[in-house]
């Protein structure tokens, strides 16, 4: 089965203790997000956006399995 390459930034990388990891295939971004939050409950209390192949996702998007996924939290510091 295909594995996604997932990149995590900022606080998410800290929470997941990895800035890059593999994750099992899911057919769209909604299912992938649900699965991520289930296997990493610490993501449930986090706000972040998702990019597929460096394009920000604004609605549920179908996935093939060879995409690069990025989890992008907002930063507030100045």
């Amino acid at each position: 089965m295909e594995l996604f390459k997932i990149k995590a930034f900022g606080l998410l990388a800290e929470k997941l203790q990895a800035s890059e990891f593999d994750f099992p295939y899911h057919k769209d971004t909604e299912q992938l997000l649900n699965a991520l939050k289930e296997s990493h409950p610490e993501l449930q209390s986090s706000k972040f956006s998702l990019a597929v192949d460096k394009n920000l996702v604004q609605q549920n998007t179908g996935l093939n399995g060879n995409e690069e996924i990025a989890l992008l939290p907002p930063f507030s510091g100045g």
């Binding site: 900022g10 992008l72 507030s76 510091g77 100045g78």
Partner: protein, 366 residues
């Protein structure tokens, strides 16, 4: 005049680019880690008018990154001190000091004066407020933000398909999603890099040089020296969260309380207060606020009282707070959580105005 010679001899910048900078008016929100470097380079480059908005004063722990300031400036106001330093270095720059934190009430008059805004603020409340106001006033906005060793950068309200912050992050995080608002660590050079990237985008945008970072969100990681660029399209949904006019903007509450406030639904709150002995459902509105509620099981302890004296909470394990809209109760829940980290303290989402509030339906006689 030789002050700008090294940039006017650049063929694609030239005297035309320099004149555009000289005519420009730029507002920098926050004279902190991001604001210090961007202010310095904007002034050095010859931006004609620069506004500096900051209500804070300089503390010693600022000095690792707020490089306009030194040991002798501790305790002085940031905006005025930054303006004095820049004025001394570059007498040809017109500097405006706005020695206050921007609020929905004072920000519209301030921003109106400028062609371009740089956001170097340090909290989500201000970021969303400045974003919404720049959308309303149609001002280009250069957003920079940092977290520990990482930074992000974007240019809003500019280009053929302008985007804004809400296209990327539709709504501000709940206070429960911000783990720790107190100062997190930051390596000093990081905001130096991101603040200078903001200044570079500003100079490009104002002078017409190169290609502005439109429709992108750029990440930089100091530890890996990595850049990561994400394409962003406008999202028609995001406009719905932005006030429609200045009048409603002025009334909007952008404050986000830091801490660990958790919110709870009305249904769950009633369930807990009925079935868990050590629970208390508390109306925190002040005396005289309408409508009065006299349902059994609801205690009335105004927020002003609870902030002074928490004796009535001593034996309570689950504290369930509500107010009219949920904002005050969220704020209070976060503050009480700091005092009682072992207790479960919840704010009922939406307050009595929430459609699912049984009190609300009762008020309307249904």
């Amino acid at each position: 005049m030789k002050r700008f010679e090294r940039q006017t001899i650049l063929p694609d910048f030239g005297t035309a680019g320099q004149e555009k900078l000289a005519r420009a008016k730029v507002l920098v929100v926050g004279a902190g880690g991001l604001g210090c470097p961007s202010l310095l380079y904007l002034a050095a480059a010859g931006v004609g008018t620069i506004g500096i908005a900051d209500g804070d004063s300089i503390s010693e722990s600022n000095l690792n990154r707020q490089t306009l300031f030194g040991q002798n400036d501790i305790g002085k106001p940031k905006a005025e001190t930054a303006a004095n330093i820049l004025q001394q270095k570059y007498p040809d720059v017109n500097l405006n000091v706005i020695p206050q934190f921007l609020t929905p009430q004072n920000a519209p008059e301030v921003l109106e004066e400028y062609d371009l805004i740089l956001d170097g603020s340090d909290n989500f409340g201000t970021r969303y407020m400045i974003n919404d106001l720049c959308v309303l006033l149609q001002k280009p906005l250069i957003m920079g933000a940092i977290y520990q060793y990482e930074g992000q950068l974007a240019v809003f309200n500019y280009g053929e398909r302008p985007i804004n912050y809400r296209d990327i992050y539709h709504s501000p995080p709940q206070s429960s999603e911000i783990p720790n608002c107190s100062e997190t660590g930051v390596i000093g050079v990081l905001p130096g890099i991101i603040g200078n990237l903001q200044a570079a985008e500003a100079i490009k945008l104002l002078s017409g040089l190169g290609k502005v970072l439109t429709n992108k969100l750029l990440f930089y990681n100091l530890k890996t020296s990595g850049f990561f660029e994400v394409n962003v399209d406008p999202n028609p949904e995001s406009v719905k969260s932005i006030p429609q006019d200045l009048e409603s903007f002025r009334r909007k509450n952008y404050e986000i309380t830091c801490g660990l406030a958790e919110s709870i639904s009305w249904e769950k709150a009633f369930d807990w207060s009925r079935n868990l002995e050590s629970s208390k459902l508390i109306d925190i509105r002040e005396a005289g606020e309408m409508p009065e509620l006299d349902q059994p099981g609801i205690e009335k302890i105004p927020m002003s009282v609870l902030l002074q004296d928490q004796e009535q909470l001593e034996s309570v394990e689950n504290v369930l707070l509500f107010c009219k809209s949920g904002q005050r109760s969220e704020n209070l829940a976060a503050r009480l959580k700091e005092l009682f980290p072992e207790k479960k303290i919840f704010s009922i989402a939406g307050g009595i105005l929430d459609p699912s509030s049984p009190l609300n339906t009762r008020i309307h006689g249904t």
